[in-house]
């Protein structure tokens, strides 16, 4: 029996198992931590543009976090009292998702043409108005690109959650590896890969759609 027939047989005999894994993967291991990361990183990114102290502190810390190998980070979190299961996985993915969003929010705002900021200020905008009417709308494409990076990356990181009992498609991969069953590995890896590609495409379209029209016109 070829690998593909075995794979197809497995998929058709275990549809519930695979669908549950996909659902866990998307909702619990990607949507929740990335959503939280957006809520935390965008405001922090804005703060970084306003206060010099935070700039080096937060961007530095997030950068260091990114360099820790994901399996190591998961193990630290398990030992730190979060136990095993979804919790350490969600926390780890959340921590990884922060940096791209934080850095892009910061860069997006910082790279708004200074003459536009000066004009806005000179016409009597308060700092808040300048942020809400000028800087954030102009930084939207860059911020969304950061979110896309985080989300796509999280799909990959999430497969490691299985090592700490976090569920998701990683479960199938780990099971397949232990049992030396290639078709089970494939049943986990293929949906994960497809998911990453699809999500990236979708978010890239969203990015274009949400970019203010006047900015899409090029220079």
């Amino acid at each position: 029996m070829s690998l593909f027939t075995q794979f197809w047989q497995y998929v058709s005999t275990h549809p519930d198992q695979i669908l549950t894994a996909i659902r866990e993967h998307i909702l619990l291991l990607v949507a929740v931590p990335v959503g939280l990361a957006i809520l935390v990183a965008v405001p922090l990114g804005i703060l970084c543009t306003r206060y010099r102290v935070l700039e080096s502190l937060l961007l530095g810390a997030a950068g260091v976090m990114q360099t820790i190998p994901s399996l190591a980070l998961l193990s630290f979190l398990v030992m730190s009292g979060l136990g095993i299961g979804f919790r350490p996985a969600i926390v780890a993915i959340f921590l990884y998702a922060i940096l791209p969003i934080l850095r892009n929010t910061y860069t997006g705002i910082k790279s708004v043409d200074p003459s536009i900021k000066k004009a806005a200020k000179g016409m009597g905008m308060t700092d808040m108005q300048c942020l809400m009417l000028v800087e954030l709308p102009m930084a939207v494409p860059v911020i969304l690109a950061g979110i896309r990076t985080s989300a796509t990356m999280s799909i990959g990181t999430a497969t490691l959650a299985a090592f700490v009992g976090g569920g998701g498609l990683g479960n199938l991969i780990v099971t397949g590896l232990r049992m030396l069953r290639d078709h089970i590995i494939l049943a986990g890896a293929l949906p994960a890969a497809l998911m990453a590609i699809t999500l990236d495409a979708l978010l890239s379209r969203l990015e274009k759609a949400l970019t203010p029209r006047g900015l899409r016109l090029g220079k």
């Binding site: 043409d113 003459s115 536009i116 000066k118 004009a119 806005a120 200020k121 000179g122 016409m123 009597g124 905008m125 308060t126 108005q129 009417l133 000028v134 709308p137 102009m138 203010p212 029209r213 006047g214 900015l215 016109l217 090029g218 220079k219």
Partner: protein
């Protein structure tokens, strides 16, 4: 309107950008700040709307100490135009123009009406442009919108920081002309920073020349050209604008040698008749020793309610003159940059030797282009001083001997 009182600005790091500045900008005046880079002109401008805070001294706007007014309030009441335009790319043209009014919470209808009015004022069809985005417009059009944005909330004061500096020369000239027209109509108090002397002389009611954070000379363009305060100003105005070129034409070459003159004691009625007979609109008033006294113009005489008895009472004495032997360029610069109608040529003793008018340039061009072997003598003689340059010239007939190159007037604009 705007008063600087002993204003000093020292940047962190110790650079003294502005040093004990005292300056009084009157209502309705267009004042140009000019100087080499680092002279403090932009800092001076930015201290007015508090983008920079003075280290010492006080700035009053409308009699109010600006440091005691809310900064947001202050800025919303002062129009601001910058070199890089700074339109918001994600806002439509209408929202860009209506930005300050909307910050001031004008009702939407009033903002819309104001946007239309402003676009129409500069000849941009609101139907076509209001809904566009800045990036769909050319650089010149964008800066027009930048100027309109500054005018939108009807501020009395407008600050312009090298607004036309980034534009190509043709567009720059067009926008300068438009600004001049707008200003003639709106009479705003405008503070204008530039490093372009031609622009300064063209636009400024007064030009303030700065160096090392201090004012070197603040004067009308005409007075700057006539009486530069020192070598720095002379050099800054430009050698080519002032100096005599050894190999170039001199005023003697182009001057009308026999202008229509009259003594100061001539009666007004007689003077008017003389002007009619000679087909001129100005008389050179010369005393009995041949010394130049001043100019009497028909327009000036007509504008008077009470008819004085003699020319002596209407003669304009504060007139820019050139010395015999100066370059012709200098006289033409007075005609076209300082916009005087006629430039008398005098010698060291103050005697009148002739006059240079826009007609002289036309004549010179004619000779140079079409009459190269013609006798300049004949052309120069018996020419009347139909000082046709006065912009809204009354229907003074030009001298019948005017060469065919007559449209010198429009060409000078």
């Amino acid at each position: 309107m705007i008063v600087f009182e002993n204003v000093t600005k020292i940047y962190p790091g110790g650079t003294k950008a502005v040093d004990g500045l005292n300056l009084h900008i009157r209502k309705g005046e267009l004042v140009v700040l000019i100087g080499p880079s680092g002279c403090g002109k932009t800092t001076t401008l930015e201290m007015i709307n508090r983008l920079e805070e003075p280290t010492e001294g006080t700035i009053y706007v409308n009699g109010n100490d600006t440091s005691k007014i809310s900064v947001v309030e202050l800025r919303r009441n002062i129009g601001y135009v910058i070199q890089n335009i700074g339109l918001l790319p994600h806002f439509r043209i209408s929202s860009n123009i209506g930005l300050v009014p909307s910050l001031l919470k004008w009702p939407k209808q009033r903002i819309d009406a104001r946007v239309r009015e402003l676009l129409e004022m500069v000849g941009m069809d609101p139907e076509v442009y209001a809904n566009r985005y800045p990036r769909e417009l050319s650089g010149g059009q964008q800066q027009r919108i930048g100027v309109l944005r500054a005018l939108a909330a009807e501020p009395e004061i407008i600050l312009m920081d090298e607004p036309f500096g980034a534009l190509d020369p043709v567009t720059r000239e067009n926008l300068q002309d438009e600004l001049k027209k707008l200003q003639a109509r709106l009479k705003k108090t405008i503070v204008f920073v530039t490093h372009d002397m031609d622009e300064a002389l063209k636009l400024g009611d007064r030009v303030v020349i700065m160096k090392d954070g201090k004012v070197v000379q603040a004067d009308t363009p005409e007075m700057l050209l006539r009486k530069p305060a020192d070598d720095f100003v002379r050099q800054f105005i430009g050698r080519e604008r002032l100096a005599v070129k050894a190999d170039g034409l001199t005023v003697d070459d182009v001057a009308i040698k026999t202008p229509v003159t009259a003594p100061p004691h001539m009666g007004l009625a007689q003077a008017t008749r003389l002007m009619q007979r000679k087909h001129v609109d100005t008389l050179m008033v010369v005393d009995d020793d041949g010394k130049f006294v001043g100019i009497a113009s028909a327009r000036e005489i007509e504008a008077l309610k009470r008819r004085p008895d003699s020319l002596a009472e209407v003669v304009q004495k504060d007139v820019a003159t050139v010395m015999q032997g100066s370059s012709a360029k200098q006289a033409f610069e007075m005609l076209f940059i300082a916009k005087v109608g006629v430039v008398p040529v005098i010698d060291g003793a103050g005697r009148l030797h002739g006059i240079v008018t826009r007609g002289s340039l036309a004549e010179m061009l004619y000779q140079a282009l079409w009459d190269s072997n013609g006798d300049g003598e004949a052309a120069g003689n018996s020419r009347s001083n139909g000082a046709n340059g006065q912009p809204p010239a009354p229907p003074t007939p030009l001298s019948p001997a005017q060469p065919p190159t007559a449209p010198a007037g429009p060409a000078s604009q």
